[in-house]
Symmetry: C2
Subunit: 370 residues, 2 copies
């Protein structure tokens, strides 16, 4: 593959995550208005608006464009369940790298009361076990059985991420928790307890992407998209489990591709936002992003040399479905510009975003560099 | 703008348009199965699946990928109301031109019973006049008043397109109509009668796009995407009417851009599929695509030197919302390969697709060449 034209993130904003019922339009506009306030972008320069949301309203991206006073070339809404956000970012990357656009606004917005994305109803083989926690509990039991991973190790993931989110002013959960609190929280689907689970919430986030030429006009701290990897193996749990093991095969493939494209290795990564929809998923992602060998994820929680989920991840921040991948990327972009505030990881230069959907049936990995 | 990497349409199929209630998944798979049957593409070679539909189901593109036995890098659903189809094609173009994908499957599928895209409910300024026919009747009255366009001229558009669709085996309407029949059909919103209006129906269509390298492996008759233009001015009628005239300003801007990118002029175009959601829209599109001067659209119906809507357009084929732009493009691709069957226009080499949404608040124009 030839190296595509260089594409930069030139601005990023995330609005506070809440449990409020909000208009998807108001949610979508808020972080964009912050971007317009803080950068010198003229609204006429926005060539494209991509809205990532699982909302079922129609013509939403054009409505948001009108509300923002933008008259772009194109605008559309995109969804791919929990993996929507990074899909939107990669689509924006392609519009610029293809030479059709210079400046693309990517917005993620989701309201907690949108129930349509919470159940995996299409997969009849799951029967009534159609909530995400059901597959996550299968993964947890499998990992415990095969690798000796413990419930305490899983709890430690939640403890770390809640500690991080306690420093993050936009996070839904600002109170740290202890291993005991996680272990004693209500059992949801054995062995996963309430505090092992992320919480679907309301939230929005936006990124402004630009071509190399345009990026130089807009910022002195562009963050470059250097690696992109994606893999989809279908939609159902049977596809994910087809090799008889609970592993994030799509994540492995996406990560390999992103490392290759960016000419980086796992040890080059300074800061990570990974898709910790459940505590076990963070442990599995350590392995499938190649930060630690297969089976060692449980132990890696305590041994971390990378800064993983500094904003608090999904467990700490909440999980506004179509917004999550964009908020993850906004955090890494902020980290690499040194503007992450209280969650700042010192001296980071290369960051990785991991976003996925529906038991890992699809995954995206993006690698950014300052 | 630099010229992006060359991207070709290597296969296209459209399933019959109907009034049947159908599963969006079955609809989406049908034209793809035809493509797999007729080409030598290996399913493992499909890098990306983009599904254009206004269906409100979740994770649809990944479900369709699984049903088709494809494990692409990425898959997502995209919508932008009636302008969804060409938005999906342009996104696929970008994925290939950016160098991330070699082979992208673009699918449009819509079921008539999806009501969510039929009303323009977001635009409160329209009051109860929130059906597409309401703005179309404003446009018709304005065009009649300013340019002397007649109801008979509008009726002639329907007559032409129904004559064309009578030769098209996949069209919803196979019976030709006369000017008298159109004029005497039920008044819907003065001056537009029932036979001046397209009919929202069930349908699906798919295209396989490929990089230059891949296209050579897959077909000896690639159709090249040479020009792309898009413009969005918002979502509401007030934006469209802001200059005090009923004109398709977004279509004009999109057409200018597509002509420029493809280095063609209106007189170079041999065959056209334009967005005749209502008979008046075809007359306006003649002008705003620069085939005839402003105000001359009514007379152009009888003077046509171009072959416009040879498959029968939306008036003759029906209008399966998220599928329409893809079915239009499939028709032009078929025309340019000489495989359009009974609707074939002789000797065409350059074709244009015009797709738009919500009173022309957004438009896309694509120019193809054999």
């Amino acid at each position: 593959m030839e190296m595509p034209e260089e594409v930069a993130i030139v601005a990023s904003e995330t609005s506070p995550f809440t449990r409020k019922e909000s208009s998807i339009f108001e949610l979508a506009c808020n972080p964009c208005l912050e971007i317009f306030r803080k950068t010198n972008i003229d609204r006429t320069e926005v060539d494209s608006v991509i809205l990532s949301t699982c909302s079922t309203l129609q013509y939403t991206s054009s409505i948001v464009s009108e509300m923002l006073g933008i008259k772009p070339k194109n605008s559309y809404r995109l969804d791919n369940l929990c993996n929507s956000g990074t899909s939107a970012i990669i689509s924006a990357f392609c519009e610029i790298a293809a030479g059709l656009c210079d400046c693309v606004l990517v917005i993620g917005a989701e309201c907690e009361t949108n129930d349509s994305a919470k159940k995996l109803q299409w997969d009849l083989t799951r029967g009534s076990f159609n909530l995400p926690v059901h597959w996550a509990s299968l993964f947890a039991r499998s990992h415990m059985r095969k690798f000796g991973t413990t419930e305490e190790q899983m709890a430690s993931v939640s403890v770390k991420n809640r500690r991080n989110s306690s420093r993050n002013p936009i996070a839904l959960f600002r109170d740290p928790v202890t291993v005991e609190q996680v272990m004693n929280s209500r059992m949801i689907s054995d062995p996963l307890k309430k505090l092992d689970c992320s919480f679907v919430c309301t939230g929005s986030s936006a990124l402004l992407l630009a071509s190399k030429r345009k990026a130089k006009e807009l910022t002195d701290m562009p963050i470059w998209i250097r690696g992109i990897g994606q893999k989809t193996i279908g939609a159902s749990l049977s596809q994910v489990l087809s090799k008889g093991e609970a592993g994030l095969n799509t994540t492995r493939e996406a990560a390999r591709e992103a490392y290759k494209m960016s000419q980086t290795e796992p040890r080059d990564i300074d800061v990570v936002e990974l898709h910790d929809a459940f505590s076990i998923m963070e442990i599995m992602a350590y392995e499938d992003l190649f930060f630690t060998p297969k089976g060692q994820g449980g132990k890696f929680v305590a041994q971390q040399q990378l800064s993983i989920n500094p904003r608090g991840g999904l467990l700490g921040c909440g999980h506004p479905i179509g917004c999550t991948g964009i908020a993850q990327t906004a955090e890494i972009a902020a980290q690499l510009t040194g503007r992450a505030g209280e969650t700042q990881v010192n001296g980071c230069k290369t960051g990785l975003i991991h976003n996925m959907a529906a038991a890992g049936s699809s995954s995206s990995v993006i690698i950014l560099r300052s």
